[in-house]
Symmetry: C2
Subunit: 225 residues, 2 copies
DNA sequence: TAGATTGTTAATCGATTAACAATC
DNA sequence: TAGATTGTTAATCGATTAACAATC
């Protein structure tokens, strides 16, 4: 990336959070999120500092690029030492503007839904499951994780009252599109899809589909060749 | 809204063997895998042809790039019509050299393990769960999906007899590194990690860590800005 | 034919890397 | 100091895109 002042780089230094800066490029935002994952776990394990080389070992992003991604926003590291894990976590959270608490509505109280509700993989990054829904009336009322399973009729009220920003679909493929429609109608703009369905949603809604098999195919290709 | 910039999977490519045919670049292999996911589902839904624009809508990969990725390997499309779904699936499988059957050993018979064993998300792409392991002696012997849960002592024998190429870790974070070590010792070269652990493995072993929270952070960034 | 969509080119943009001075 | 690691530059390589002729 050039530093030509006439051509503002995509990654513009964000002067001490709060100042409006340009939107990050897709690649930078994706990489910063990845660094955050590793840093969060490293912090849990009691690691206090981490070098760009160590981050590279875990993320498979080139270490020069890591330093470059970070130095665009400030001088977070100490030469000869590395980066302070805890402070880097909060710096990146600030850059990504995802420092707060974000509420999730979970759909599906089957095995996958229970696994998600019982995991802290979301909680560690500030996401909280505030409601669990299931279409099966037999499951409504059961307690899963810290939540009682609710009926779909409550969706609109819950989204409004709890400020739900993400809907997670842990349901059979056949049910996914209908629930996506409900979420869109309730005003939720981000859908995380664990089913295999190809969801059709309005352009302003973001869908992320989990695809472990795709990741495996990819890994396999490099293993076989 | 564009969601995924093709999150480069966290995979460590095995060191390239001598010369041989040109290996696909990381990006091309990742994108082809994604096309395969959409095509597989489109095929299930009875779709016979698909245009690069439709593929783009579902993968968020630019349609020109899709045509370019594909045309590098042959003229698979019909102008004015699009691509035949079924034939494109088999062409891409050939390109990725993952057309056969690949055997998986699954670790963890908890909610996540059961969800995986009961899903056809892997089966649709030629991956078959041939064994389930759990460290909990109380779970050994239970039937999950089509498998009886086994004791870890059987690992070496199963890997050899069943030609296991992938180990999937659906276990608590604290157990993941130990099992990764066992898998490496048994000769498995690809590990799919659903825990939060940062796994240390030899360079020839590929680790993919599932990180839904990272994907959500990324989606959230573009939602908020 | 008319409309749609592929295959391909050329230009631009972003990622990657080696190298190294700065400095902890 | 000596060793380590950041921050930064400059050069290269590969990815991405708009545009459009070819053609179904």
């Amino acid at each position: 990336m050039t530093l030509d002042p006439l051509n503002p780089p995509m990654v513009r230094p964000a002067p001490s959070a709060g100042g409006a800066s340009e939107r990050l490029s897709l690649g930078v935002a994706a990489r910063l999120s990845r660094y955050l994952q590793v840093l969060t776990q490293a912090k849990k394990m009691g690691k206090e500092t981490i070098s760009s080389q160590e981050l590279s070992d875990y993320t498979h992003v080139n270490s020069t690029q890591i330093r470059r991604d970070l130095s665009g926003f400030g001088k977070f590291g100490k030469r000869g030492v590395g980066y302070n894990v805890e402070s880097l976590v909060s710096q990146i959270r600030k850059i990504l503007r995802t420092a707060g608490q974000h509420n999730i509505a979970l759909f599906g109280a089957g095995h996958l839904g229970r696994a998600i509700a019982g995991s802290d993989i979301f909680a560690d990054h500030g996401f909280r499951v505030v409601a669990i829904f299931d279409v099966d009336p037999d499951k409504v009322g059961l307690v899963v994780g810290a939540q009682r399973v609710r009926h779909l009729d409550d969706l609109h009220a819950v989204v409004e009252e709890e400020d739900v920003v993400v809907g997670v679909l842990a349901v059979p493929t056949a049910d996914a599109q209908g629930l996506a429609d409900d979420l869109v109608a309730a005003g939720v703009k981000i859908i995380f899809n664990y089913s295999e369905a190809l969801l059709d949603v309005p352009p302003e809604v973001a869908v992320h589909t989990s695809s472990p098999a795709v990741d495996l195919l990819y890994a396999l290709y490099f293993h076989l060749t």
